[in-house]
């Protein structure tokens, strides 16, 4: 068994989830999976080299990962409280269309 193939498989599953899912929480789960796959490489290669530097890097990476999740979830909760939306497709539809004056300015330029 090869840990690199395992890591690549989990990374692929995470990327597929990130691309195909529209729910904010599901997308966060996919991001979590991608970071877990990346962190696994630190531990595996550190274990191959038989020193603790890989573990040290993995600890640093896991802390950053938890921070990313906390910020993304806080943003998701804030968006939900304001707009009652959890679907990213609906969020992209909220983009404001340019007014007639702005269109005229663009045409003049």
């Amino acid at each position: 068994m090869d840990y690199i193939i395992l890591s690549v498989t989990i990374l692929g599953i995470g990327i597929v989830g990130l691309v195909t899912k529209n729910d904010l929480i599901k997308m966060l789960i996919a991001v979590e999976m991608i970071t877990a796959a990346a962190t696994m490489n630190f531990v595996v290669f550190g274990s191959l080299m038989e020193d603790s530097l890989g573990q040290a890097f993995s600890i640093l990476a896991l802390s950053v990962d938890a921070c990313v999740t906390a910020v993304a979830l806080a943003l998701a909760v804030a968006i939900y409280k304001k707009l009652k939306i959890r679907d990213v497709r609906e969020l992209s539809e909220l983009k404001e269309e340019p007014s007639e004056e702005e269109n005229q300015m663009v045409e003049e330029n």
Binding site: I13, K26, G46
Partner: protein
Amino acid sequence: MWLETALAIGLVTSAVFAIYLKETVASVLSLGSMLVLLSLLYFSLNAPFAAIFQLALGIGTVAIFLLAGDTLTKKSDEKTSSKTKILGLFAAVILSIPVIVGTVATQTLTREINLSLSSALWDLRAIDVLAQGIVVLTVALGVVFLLKEERRRS
């Protein structure tokens, strides 16, 4: 060897279900089980500190965050049919085959220095650790301010 193979199959299966299931709570639970299996894999690779960190942050923090986020932003979930679950299991089994059978040629790495975790963290990466402490505190303050601002507005 059989333990590592079983862990790898479990990891791939729980990862597929975390993405595949329609119910968000079930997805988060599946992600949690994946992180527990990853922690067991770290233990088997003789990396206990990384394993404990993974367990504490993976289950204790991230899974709880995601469950809390799901509870705070509740929406009506669709149910996953048993046929879809069986298809997911089949996909997980197929994805597990290259993990068990495949090999990648890697160069054997040798190093003379054997570092302990504390010397690796404090002698080599001390600035990183301190900077990361500042990042974690900033993130905590940012999240608190973000949620407090939302509460004040509502």
